[in-house]
């Protein structure tokens, strides 16, 4: 005995619609992963270890991989300490003038067009130095990285229950020690998460490197004041070339970038319950 019920019908329609939209949203992401794997894997299989170690003439992307690691390392050295301190400051003094300004500034920087960062760094570093360099690229990446780290640090600290704040100050150790020796270690996991996410993010950035890093794909980087390559920058360059070989190499490089990105991201996301941005 089936009786038509408007309420039930609405419910069905709603569920179907929501499921359809969900699939539509997730589909492009899955398709990207699928097509990168399908096109990239054969290239890597065919060329073997040389793909990871060789220079451009050997059809390898070794220098680009090294360049990405160098850029991430340098930008972390420049950006992490400052951003971490800014985050802690914003947590400790949220109502101060500097605290509130920082907060607003961080929000803007999170949404800032990254290509403009590249233009800015070109103006202040590349032009005076007269050359593209790893240093300039790293500086641009550091600017992009800092707001993420600062916001994550602040949020991770804010998650600490007030009672631990009372307990640490209650030991009579003073503000600096209470914060840096007890509360920061307590929020270590959330802060580390923010750092790793920001590193994964800048490893995949292209735009800020366009006018700063220059590119170096035949030999490995030897100096921070000379041009350097990066995987996303290489992909961008290769895709612009008409050659079919260049395109398949770009697919291979994309897969390397994807693996690096997911390798950092998936473990983080799985353990990520403490921090929300």
């Amino acid at each position: 005995m089936w009786k038509f019920s408007l309420r039930m019908a609405k419910d069905r329609v709603f569920i179907v619609a929501v499921s359809a939209f969900t699939i539509l949203t997730v589909y492009p992401l899955l398709h990207i992963i699928y097509s990168v794997a399908r096109n990239g894997l054969p290239v890597i299989m065919e060329r073997g270890p040389t793909f990871f170690t060789g220079g451009m003439s050997e059809a390898g992307i070794g220098p680009a991989i090294a360049g990405t690691f160098l850029l991430v390392l340098l930008s972390s050295l420049i950006g992490l300490p400052i951003a971490f301190l800014v985050g802690v400051y914003a947590y400790e003094y949220p109502d101060s003038l500097i605290g509130r300004t920082t907060q607003a500034l961080l929000q803007i920087m999170l949404e800032f067009p990254t290509v403009l960062v590249g233009v800015f760094v070109m103006d202040i570093i590349v032009l005076p130095m007269g050359t593209f360099s790893a240093l300039a690229g790293a500086f641009a990446l550091a600017i992009i990285m800092m707001p993420y780290v600062a916001v994550y640090t602040k949020e991770a600290m804010r998650q600490i229950p007030f009672t631990y704040r009372e307990a640490s100050f209650g030991l009579g150790v003073g503000r600096v020690k209470a914060i840096f020796r007890i509360l920061v270690p307590l929020a270590k996991r959330g802060i580390t998460t923010g750092i790793l996410i920001s590193m994964a993010k800048v490893a995949g950035e292209t735009a800020p490197l366009l006018f700063t890093a220059g590119g170096l794909y035949e030999s490995y980087p030897t100096s921070v004041t000379e041009p350097v390559g990066a995987i996303p920058l290489l992909i961008y360059t290769l895709i612009q070339s008409p050659s079919k070989d260049a395109h398949s190499m770009a697919w291979g490089a994309s897969l390397v970038l994807l693996i690096f990105f997911l390798g950092v991201f998936i473990p983080i996301r799985r353990s990520l319950k403490v921090v929300r941005l």
Binding site: F162, E166, A167, F169, L171, G172, G174, K188
Partner: protein
């Protein structure tokens, strides 16, 4: 000469516009267990936090009047709140050992960060002493490198007491220390509190008149931010001067 561990004069505390404590003048003698009792929300915990200046962590709180610790005005401008917090240890309503530190580190942290003791052996000796004094040593001596999450609520609370004692304070503040502890653990902590008064002055906040009667020598009854009366526990419970006090100690006022 001053015989009081803590003395307040017209202590008034605001949270924003709200007056939580209203002109309380209270004297707490040395080497006693003093119970600050009253129904929930009467301002006991707030007042307790004024005794070691931990209340200042709350940005909305405004403190007026005077608080003396062993005769010294702790709100005088030249006083470093950290010094006061070292002299006045604190135990909280919910046992809050630092979850990322081992049992040993929880007790040692205050000593290390304050640079109270130089050598590692001295620190070890002090940690052992504090854990023994808090009646916890026998239960944890084989697992000092364990994390406090493996301890029971009562053990955790005694760990907090050890953490406070390790700094050799003069006064111990306890904010409803047994509110989240099972009856057996509660019994042990109450016995411990009673034993501590030989060396320390203990101020315990409780909403339970029976607990106040069990552990304290002196008592103050706080109602809606005002001190109704205070004195020897025996006298207050046997001959309350105020009708409200009588209602509270007989359990009519909750």
């Amino acid at each position: 000469m001053n015989n009081y561990a803590i003395e307040t004069r017209k202590l008034t505390i605001f949270y924003g516009e709200n007056r939580v404590i209203n002109r309380v003048s209270l004297k707490i003698p040395k080497n006693v267990v003093f119970a600050l009792m009253g129904p929930s929300g009467c301002g006991k915990s707030t007042m307790l936090r004024a005794f070691n200046r931990i209340l200042e962590l709350n940005k909305d709180a405004k403190i007026m009047g005077k608080v003396f610790l062993m005769g010294q005005n702790i709100y005088a401008p030249n006083i470093d709140p950290s010094d006061i917090r070292r002299k006045v240890g604190m135990v909280f309503q919910y046992p809050n050992p630092f979850p990322h530190l081992t049992i040993y580190e929880n007790v040692a942290m205050g000593i290390k960060l304050n640079g109270l003791l130089k050598s590692k052996e001295e620190v070890e000796r002090r940690v052992k002493w504090a854990l023994k004094r808090a009646w916890l040593w026998d239960e944890v001596k084989d697992r000092l490198q364990d994390y406090p999450s493996n301890l029971s609520g009562g053990q955790n609370q005694r760990l907090i007491i050890a953490r406070a004692l390790a700094l050799k304070p003069k006064v111990l503040l306890m904010d409803e220390p047994t509110a989240n502890i099972d009856p057996v653990g509660t019994r042990k902590i109450e016995d411990l509190i009673y034993s501590l008064k030989e060396e320390y002055t203990v101020v315990i906040v409780t909403h339970s008149p029976t607990q106040a009667a069990r552990v304290s020598d002196c008592v103050g009854f706080l109602y809606l931010g005002k001190l109704v009366e205070s004195g020897r526990t025996k006298e207050i419970f046997e001959r309350p001067q105020h009708e409200l006090t009588e209602k509270f100690v007989t359990g009519e006022l909750v």
